[in-house]
Symmetry: C2
């Protein structure tokens, strides 16, 4: 297996492009590759190529882009994971897992019960860290696509946008799926609530999967979510907040016969 | 929500039983409960009860078993996870995740490419550690059943037993599902290999899900496995060894409409 690098500047065969700093370090200092070494590169936008190391210095690595290779197939359903920011560094694992599972994009959200504010998330450099994690996870999992980390927004803002999309494209199956605890634990069943197995629509082309924080949703969020999304449960299981995304993505992709 | 404890001695309403040492510590030192405090208990064999703390000392906690409560539902398919022992403490996370997902039992196995021997696994106290992790995970995920950690065995020994079971009960859908890399990466398709979505049998009552180590299966193991199990792929995804179990269990349970 050839070593594989992220080369966002690779557009077509024949290009000569520098690797980003982290990737250049990996190539030169960790793997100690020299000019002439064959490698694989992916541009993060779905293209994969053979390549050859053109030159290396202490801080730079330049490659010549060779023939295009078939990239690992992406899921037919483009799932944006809208995940409430979790405590500590748990969101790092969620980003890593979601990229491995094939999420198309990751939308960090802040909810009523989130323990951070939108301002903190936006100013803390976390988006940049999640971007680095997404690149590393695409590298490890063989994807040629690096999912975008979207600008963090509030849950209210997100469901407003999803509700608007649902109104403007009523022929589509609901654009949003919101993961909720089974209502047995909560009182009367919410309108539109179903288990994954009860969903009978054909797979949508795209959807947004909305997952809450450790403390779950409050009543107002459930009402707003129900107006814009289909509410989905994972049966009676109690699943750790930081495992919800990987479990829900695996279950959804299985439901849609992606596996 | 009442605090919840593992009380393996609880058989029926009216019993008076001591909690195991770890649980007694949790009750007395962490939560500082006193005699008379209401709690929930589960016996690890599928029963859940209301209970009342009868007495506490520095090292013991005794409860009186109250009315039985409906336990969280267990999956209709009893899945034994046969997982190759992974490096470092990664197996700890696999055990925790498998219990959360609803595995019925966990069978540690040693394969050709495992980095530990059966003797090391058996003598290292790991089985006891995994048992403690299984109890903690059942506690956190609300299960009243604590999956057994079976005696570690070799892959060859396991598939021998699965093959024998398949011969003696030919009417059942194969008792084993062995997770493999898609054969595109390996050469010609293996006999009986399918993706999850191609499995059309009704859900079995029980199955063994066999998952390999970081380095995957060797050719002989694939042959032996194919003789005793259905070979299943998770499509073209490259999934970390320590995430295979949670992803495969979520996908299988979704496929069988457990969610």
């Amino acid at each position: 297996m050839l070593p594989r690098f992220f080369a966002p500047g690779a557009g077509q065969t024949g290009d000569i492009t520098d690797l980003p700093g982290d990737e250049a370090q990996h190539l030169t200092r960790v793997l100690r590759l020299k000019a002439g070494a064959p490698v694989r590169i992916f541009n993060g936008r779905g293209m994969e190529f053979d390549a050859v190391v053109e030159s290396v210095t202490k801080t730079r690595a330049t490659v010549t882009v060779g023939p295009a290779r078939a990239p690992a197939p992406e899921p037919r359903v483009a799932v944006t994971l809208a995940q409430a920011v979790l405590k500590g560094d748990k969101m790092d694992d969620v980003v890593r897992d979601a990229v491995m599972m094939g999420a198309a994009a990751i939308q960090p959200i802040v909810t009523t019960r989130s323990e951070v504010t939108l301002a903190t998330v936006s100013r803390s450099g976390r988006v940049e860290r999640w971007e680095r994690i997404a690149i590393a996870a695409a590298k490890q999992s063989g994807r040629a696509t690096v999912p975008a980390i979207l600008e963090p927004r509030t849950f209210a803002d997100l469901v407003g946008a999803l509700g608007h999309a649902a109104l403007s494209r009523p022929a589509l199956p609901g654009p949003g799926l919101m993961l909720v605890e089974p209502s047995a634990a909560r009182g009367p069943s919410m309108p539109g609530e179903s288990t994954l197995g009860e969903m009978t629509d054909p797979p949508p082309r795209e959807t947004t999967l909305v997952i809450g924080p450790e403390g779950g949703w409050d009543a107002e969020e459930l009402d707003r979510g129900a107006a814009a999304c289909r509410l989905v449960t994972l049966g009676g299981r109690t699943i750790r907040a930081d495992a919800m995304a990987i479990v829900a993505l695996a279950a959804l992709f299985a439901h849609w016969k992606e596996f």
